[in-house]
Structure formats: structure tokens, C-alpha cells
């Protein structure tokens, strides 16, 4: 049985299109210092640092873990870098948690970031390979046919993506750190926005952001903090190749099994009933409906109904992405950790205007690559 792991400090930057006021060093330190302050600790109290970000091609800094080691107070301490594409923020937190759960360290600082303004993430994901014409489609082009397939299979009305986009943007208004603040967004505005990758419209797409997130994870004996901790009730990761025979892009097996694993660890049998909030990785709005099925919140074919009936709204029975989620801020490498951190903030009662009253159990979810990598954790207000 693993040792308990507490989340005692959480920090994030203000996310924005271009944080030209700061360097990559300043950006990660902004989040890390907030996490340390929240934990009531200083750099010297930290035993190890675990950092994650998406591909090095995004900023053009090879081995950012080396570049950032002293800026994150890691001199003389273990410094690890994790990489699992867009899910990396989640898997980074899980690697950090495992160092606590295994009894290796008492206090681990974990940080994830992306400074997308320093390059062009879309082109960094759309390499021109010899012998093939470039598709220059980016992530949206990759996922668009999967969404079309979901709509065909589930017979969902074609405006579910619009409804998710409006809901998440209105939630983001309640989150001071969110990149997009669109208080006046309307259904019509999303519907009439440019069709980028049919059926994905411009306003059904996440932004490109600069931002960072950090957490201080602690063992039970080190779990005293100014704000009561959140506790890890389960953590799981899965991966699957994009072209294996059993591949289902709409409802990937790795995601289904990752969720089953993490629910089993946390003793959850009915996620929709038992979770008070969930922060899940929705970079294109239709993925809320798809992930509701993949994460076993809804029967196959019914995920879209949760959006349509308002169940996933901040005042619904299963609030999804009360922070505004990836649809409001997407510093790719940090996005998964933001989901994990926002879930922990909910059960710590720290989420401010987007707090779900009395939240005690929450899910943090991240996926990455071509729906290839999954990382999830369940956090609760009580020690498991």
C-alpha cells in the first residue's frame, strides 16, 4: 500500500497569449513561488523537483530541465523531467506523487509550463516530412474526423460543441488566472465563428497560451500547511499507439482503462454521482461529450446529453471544468497540471468564484498526443 500523498501548495501564473513581460525562468518561478507560498514553505524545504512540458520544439530550448534547474531551486537535489505530450502536466504530477507515495521524499515541488509565444506550436506539431505532402493541419485537423465520427455514432445534435464552448468561456470569467475572459460570449457568436477544421469552429478551439502551474506534494508527516491539504486518492496513466488494431479514436481503450484503474483505487463506482467536480482536458469543445463516455460518466452515446441538459454546467449535477478549462487557457505543457491543480483547489475550497460548494472529491484528467497518453488523479478533502 502506497504512503498517503498530500497536495499542500498550488500556484499558477496569469495565462496569456504572450507573456512578454517575463522569460521562461520568470514564468516557472511565478507559479512555483505561489505554490511555495501557499504551502508556507521556502525553496530550501523542497527535497526534489519534477518538471514537465510538451516537446522541446515548442520553445526551442533543449533540455529545459537543465536550463531551469537552478531557477527552480534544484541545486543539490534530484531534478526529473517528464514528457508525455499534452498530458504531461498530469503525468508530471503523478511522477512527483509517486516519489511521496514510495516514501522517497517528504516534499516535492512539481512544475509544468509552456511559453508558446516563443514559437509556433501549430507548426511545431506539423512537421514537413520527406515523401509526404504537408497537411499543415495541426491538432485540430487531426481530431476533427474523430469528432465527426462521434457525432455520427451518437446522433448528437450538431450544436453540442457550441454549448460547451459558451459554458467553459463563461466559467473562465470566474477564474482570474484564465487566459480568455469572454463575459459577453454568445451561442450565436460561437456558431458564426470561422469553421477551422470542420466540424470545429474557431471559438470551439482552445487558445494558445503562455503559462505555468506548480504544486507542492507532501508526505503525511509533512502535510501541515496554512490551507488544509487535498489528498491523492488514486493516480493512473495509460498509453496506446495511434495505429494498433483495436484502436477506437472516439472512445480510446487507454482512456477507459485509465479511468477504471483510478476509480478502483479511489473506491468509486458511480463517477457522476460521487465526484463533486471534474477538470478534464477539453482542447476542442466536443471532447467534453466524448470524454464523458470515455470516463464512464455517461453510457456510450449519451455523453452529449450531459452538456445538453446542463448537467456539466457549474451549477449542474456534475460540474465539468468550473475553471474554464483548456478552452480558456492552454499553455500545453501546463494544461494537464492545471486540471490536476484545479481539482485539488476544489477539494481544498480554494477555487474562489468558481468554487463548487462543499466539494470533497474531484477528478483531474489529461490526455495527449493523438489521444495516446492519459493521466488522471482523484483527489479528496479527506485522507484516504
Amino acid at each position: 500500500m502506497a504512503n498517503p500523498c498530500a497536495i499542500i501548495g498550488i500556484g499558477q501564473t496569469k495565462h496569456d497569449t504572450k507573456r512578454e513581460d517575463c522569460s521562461q525562468i520568470d514564468l516557472v518561478r511565478e507559479a512555483a513561488k505561489r505554490a511555495l507560498e501557499d504551502a508556507g514553505l521556502t525553496w530550501r524545504d523542497i527535497d526534489a523537483v519534477v518538471i514537465g512540458k510538451a516537446p522541446d520544439t515548442f520553445e526551442g530550448v533543449m533540455m529545459p530541465e537543465l536550463f531551469l534547474a537552478d531557477a527552480l531551486g534544484a541545486v543539490g537535489k534530484p531534478m526529473l523531467r517528464v514528457h508525455t505530450a499534452g498530458s504531461v502536466g498530469g503525468s508530471t504530477a503523478l511522477v512527483a506523487a509517486s516519489l511521496i507515495q514510495a516514501g522517497v521524499h517528504d516534499r516535492v515541488l512539481t512544475v509544468a509550463y509552456e511559453k508558446q509565444s516563443e514559437s509556433d506550436a501549430m507548426w511545431a506539431l506539423a512537421m514537413k516530412i520527406p515523401f509526404s505532402p504537408p497537411l499543415v493541419a495541426g491538432a485540430g485537423g487531426y481530431f476533427a474526423p474523430h469528432i465527426r465520427k462521434y457525432i455520427a455514432q451518437s446522433k448528437a445534435p450538431d450544436d453540442i460543441g457550441i454549448k460547451v464552448a459558451v459554458k467553459d468561456r463563461l466559467n473562465g470569467v470566474k477564474n482570474p488566472y484564465a487566459h480568455l475572459h469572454l463575459p459577453n460570449i454568445t451561442y450565436e457568436e460561437v456558431r458564426d465563428s470561422l469553421m477551422l477544421w470542420d466540424p470545429i469552429r474557431y471559438l470551439e478551439t482552445c487558445p494558445s497560451s503562455d503559462g505555468a502551474c506548480a504544486m507542492v506534494l507532501a508526505s503525511e508527516s509533512a502535510s501541515n500547511a496554512p490551507t488544509r491539504p487535498a489528498w491523492v486518492h488514486g493516480g493512473a496513466m495509460r498509453s496506446e499507439p495511434t495505429m494498433f488494431a483495436g484502436r477506437d479514436e472516439v472512445n480510446p481503450i487507454a482512456g477507459q482503462e485509465c479511468a477504471r484503474d483510478v476509480y478502483k483505487q479511489a473506491g468509486i463506482s458511480d463517477p457522476r454521482k460521487e465526484f463533486d467536480a471534474a477538470e478534464i482536458y477539453v482542447p476542442f469543445s466536443w471532447f467534453e461529450a466524448m470524454w464523458m463516455e470515455n470516463l464512464h460518466f455517461a453510457p456510450i452515446g449519451d455523453g452529449w446529453k450531459m452538456t445538453d441538459t446542463g448537467a456539466t454546467a457549474i451549477d449542474g449535477d456534475m460540474p465539468i471544468n468550473p475553471s474554464g478549462g483548456v478552452m480558456c487557457s492552454n499553455p500545453i505543457g501546463a494544461s494537464g497540471m492545471l486540471r490536476f491543480a484545479e481539482a485539488a483547489m476544489q477539494v481544498r475550497g480554494q477555487a474562489g468564484e468558481h468554487q463548487i460548494d462543499g466539494a470533497r472529491l474531484a477528478l483531474g484528467h489529461a490526455y495527449g498526443g493523438g489521444s495516446q497518453y492519459y493521466a488522471m488523479w482523484v483527489v479528496g478533502s479527506e485522507k484516504p
Binding site: C22, S23, D26, T42, W43, A71, G73, S117, W123, K128
Partner: protein
């Protein structure tokens, strides 16, 4: 059997660098012919400056000007410079600890050099805020 195919694969992207306040102060200082360092809470002066004490991770205390004159800590001599190197005559790459600094900075020394030599920055007539605003260091 056809020969297996091989083709060149060129990857090219433009990048941006945001320097943040600390390195902005350093490069802006060069434009004004000043060298700026960062003083840590323990009193060490780091040049070029970092926003944090590299030993502890703590924020630095303040930015301070250091001298444009200092001591060669170690060096590597280039007897036959290549076309793209900074000087067209024999020179040395050197780690120079400027007066007032506690760390050495890499630059170029023109002229006779040995460990412990005192050298002084030779500024260009026109400065733009690059490290090359110092053309090289020369014996002080």
C-alpha cells in the same frame, strides 16, 4: 531490389525570446556601456544577472552595476581565428571576473593574456544592447 529511399529533412522554425526584467536590465545596461549584475541576499554578485540566487532559488536582492574591468580566471587561446570568430587576429576566449562580481563571464581578450591578467572592456563606438557591444577586453 530498389535502393532504400533517403531524403534530406530540414526543420526550420523561428523562435522568440522574452528576456524578462533581469536580462532586459543587463542588455539595456550594455547599450549604456554599463555591466549589470544581480546581488543575492547572501551578498554574492552574479554576472550576467539571474532573477534568482543560483545556489538557493531565492529571489535576488537587487541589481547592481559592476566594473567593466576585471581579472582573467582562465582562458583558451585561438592562434588562427576562423572567419566567423569575433576577432581577425589571434585572441583568447576568457572567463573574466569583473571587479564587484563573484562569478566569471565569458568574453574575448585581445592581446597578451595569462591567468590573473587584468583586462578592461573595449566598447564599440555604437552600442545596441548586445553582448557584442563589448568588442573585446584588452589589457588594463
Amino acid at each position: 531490389m530498389t535502393e532504400p529511399l533517403v531524403a534530406p529533412h530540414v526543420l526550420e522554425w523561428g523562435y522568440t525570446r522574452s528576456l524578462g526584467p533581469t536580462l532586459t536590465a543587463f542588455f539595456t545596461g550594455l547599450r549604456d556601456r554599463k555591466i549589470v549584475g544581480a546581488k543575492t541576499k547572501t551578498g554574492r554578485v552574479i554576472v550576467p544577472p539571474t532573477p534568482h540566487d543560483p545556489d538557493t532559488g531565492e529571489d535576488v536582492d537587487s541589481l547592481v552595476d559592476v566594473s567593466d574591468e576585471g581579472v582573467v580566471e582562465t582562458w583558451s587561446f585561438v592562434s588562427h581565428p576562423r572567419p566567423k570568430q569575433p576577432l581577425d587576429r589571434p585572441f583568447a576566449w576568457a572567463l573574466i571576473k569583473l571587479d564587484g562580481a563573484d562569478t566569471a563571464m565569458l568574453h574575448v581578450v585581445d592581446g597578451a593574456i595569462e591567468t590573473g591578467s587584468r583586462v578592461k572592456a573595449k566598447w564599440r563606438d555604437e552600442t545596441v544592447g548586445y553582448i557584442t557591444d563589448i568588442e573585446c577586453f584588452v589589457p588594463a
